[in-house]
């Protein structure tokens, strides 16, 4: 009986060996990165990679696996960032406690928003979640007494360990990447579990899935909340890392950037999302010199990628490469 599943019977692990090896490889890389990158500029940018990976991983599960296109991840990122910032900078709470409460708040909002919008499908869902992002963006700008308005919110305290603020690039590197590696581990497990399978089934057709007794709307809400929480966690870490938040964190442009990350790496590939974040974050750094044209370039890139590689640029190239390889062999 087990001839076809020999690995399974000895080891009923949810995650395939390849993913686990890649994950351990990334852990090793993170461990030695401060020596490799030599601190300063590169390590600082790598810290942003760790932060932006969180909403990207979340969106990958929601869009790539479950097929629910959402443009609300910037809003949840901002919600996490501002809640963390306001609670710690203005209310004087311990940053860790502020971070925790911010996630609770984001979860409550996500349950409500998810419950409302996940009845919608396709374009309607995209537009409803886009509206939510716009509402949050406007609220951030208008509620100046709370959020600092267009000036942004500054003076956000850093997270600390045993009374010592985590301030050096290297310390931040280990903190941020530990969180991101943990979230990635969780997402990889989930993607290869019965839940990930159900998400992919829902993506293909929710009516047939309901006939199998699967509670489709519950699954959709769960993955939406989880995915939004990853985004808000990224936002909170961003706030305590940069010690400043501006309305750009909750902008529609940022929402599109996160989608661009997936378009680059592959919508249903968690490792593709990681590579996408890496590429886009460093690209963004270099694009600073021609900031005015960056939007145009990224917009054109998104259109081109979606036209020729609807499953994502890297994923599409890999698939094309495999086809060529098979033809050659």
């Amino acid at each position: 009986m087990c001839a076809s599943c020999s690995t399974l019977c000895t080891e009923p692990a949810p995650m395939p060996r390849r993913d686990r090896n890649l994950w351990f490889g990334l852990c090793a890389l993170v461990l030695v990165a401060p020596w490799l990158l030599g601190g300063g500029y590169f390590i600082n940018t790598s810290n942003f990679v760790a932060i932006y990976a969180l909403p990207a991983i979340g969106l990958c599960l929601l869009v790539g696996y479950c097929g629910q296109l959402s443009i609300s991840h910037a809003a949840f990122f901002a919600l996490g960032a501002y809640a963390s910032g306001i609670l710690s900078a203005r209310q004087g709470l311990n940053p860790w406690l502020a971070l925790l409460l911010a996630q609770v708040l984001a979860a409550v909002v996500a349950v409500f928003i998810g419950w409302v919008v996940l009845r919608l499908r396709g374009h309607y869902l995209a537009i409803a979640t886009l509206s939510f992002t716009i509402i949050i963006e406007v609220l951030i700008k208008e509620l100046g007494s709370l959020t600092g308005g267009l000036q942004g919110l500054s003076g956000i305290p850093r997270l600390s360990l045993g009374g010592w603020p985590i301030a050096s690039d290297t310390a931040l590197h280990y903190l941020l990447w530990t969180v991101t590696l943990g979230v990635l581990w969780f997402a990889l497990n989930l993607a290869h579990s019965r839940m990930g399978r159900a998400y992919r089934a829902i993506k293909e057709g929710d009516a047939a899935t309901a006939l199998l007794g699967v509670d489709v709307s519950r699954h959709k809400i769960e993955v939406f909340v989880l995915s939004s929480l990853f985004a808000s966690l990224g936002g909170s870490l961003y706030a305590h890392f940069v010690t400043f938040v501006s309305p750009a964190a909750g902008s529609v442009m940022f929402a599109i950037d996160i989608i661009l990350v997936l378009a680059f790496g592959g919508f249903d590939r968690l490792w593709g999302a990681m590579l996408g974040v890496l590429a886009l974050t460093y690209l963004n750094e270099y694009a600073v010199t021609f900031a005015d044209y960056k939007r145009v370039a990224f917009g054109v890139a998104l259109v081109v990628i979606m036209s020729f590689f609807p499953t994502g640029l890297l994923a599409g190239l890999v698939a094309a490469g495999q086809r060529l390889w098979r033809k050659g062999a």
């Binding site: 076809s4 009923p12 019965r194 399978r197 159900a198 047939a208 006939l211 199998l212 007794g213 509670d215």
Partner: protein, 256 residues
């Protein structure tokens, strides 16, 4: 075990079903036959909760099915297959069957994400059960093949295996023999009789008369949404109303 009472349904004034009543007993194979457009598939859609009836009563094992959604009805122990197998095309054979096990699963999102031991143990047990279901329908191919690459006949068997994976008490099959040749049809009939032997009740829509006569304990005949006959195969074969409406020629195949 399944009772259908005075079931009526119309679409934009067109009566698909009017006042249909019958029941399925525990452990029997019940067939629904009738010309195209007689309302057979509508009947299945009503029973499984995909459509809500305009009038009538549906109950299964003593519980009313009205007002329950499709997932809840499925969890009561009803499973169905479609005229055209509706597998998840991008998923593998075993993943398709595993989705039949999903609703019975207990491990939640957090247990799955953390990869807890009980989530793994459950996945392992589900996999063994899915393999057993594939074995029950005699699927002999590779279980990691992608569903869209399977020939249609194999897709149908995988779909039956997926339905069996939900541990149903009543299995609804919508034209399972469509497009099969004679020997494949015989093999399918053997399978259905085997399933009945194992205690499962079956409700089967089918056009293929020789197949229906062989597997059914009792047959309901629908015509233009109304029940025109109900009885054992031998009686149905000789019922004048059925012959007039449907059976027609005497070579054992239906006019379509």
């Amino acid at each position: 075990m399944l009772a259908v009472r005075d079931l009526s349904m119309s679409f934009a004034g067109l009566r698909a079903l009017s006042g249909v009543s019958f029941e399925v007993r525990e452990g029997e194979v019940r067939a629904v036959i009738g010309p195209n457009g007689a309302g057979k598939t509508t009947l299945f859609n009503l029973i499984t909760g995909a459509l809500v009836p305009q009038a009538g009563e549906l109950s299964f094992a003593g519980a009313s099915l009205l007002g329950r959604g499709a997932p809840a009805i499925a969890r009561l122990g009803l499973a169905r297959t479609f005229q055209q197998a509706q597998l998840y095309r991008s998923l593998s054979v075993i993943e398709n069957v595993l989705l039949g096990c999903h609703a019975a699963g207990r491990s939640g999102l957090v247990a799955c994400g953390l990869g807890l031991g009980r989530a793994r143990a459950e996945e392992h047990a589900a996999r063994l059960w899915a393999q057993e279901c594939l074995a029950r329908v005699g699927y002999a191919g590779r279980e990691d093949r992608i569903a869209s690459e399977l020939p249609l006949g194999e897709q149908r068997y995988v779909e039956i295996a997926r339905a069996l994976a939900t541990r149903p008490r009543l299995l609804l099959l919508d034209e399972p023999a469509a497009g099969l040749n004679d020997s494949e049809t015989d093999a399918l009939a053997d399978l259905l009789l085997q399933l009945r032997q194992s205690g499962l009740s079956l409700l089967v829509i089918e056009h293929h008369m020789r197949f229906v006569m062989r597997v059914s304990d009792r047959i309901v005949v629908l015509n233009f949404g109304e029940k025109i006959a109900d009885g054992v195969p031998a009686a149905i074969r000789q019922d004048p109303a059925v012959i007039a409406a449907y059976l027609g020629n005497d070579d054992g195949t239906a006019r379509t």
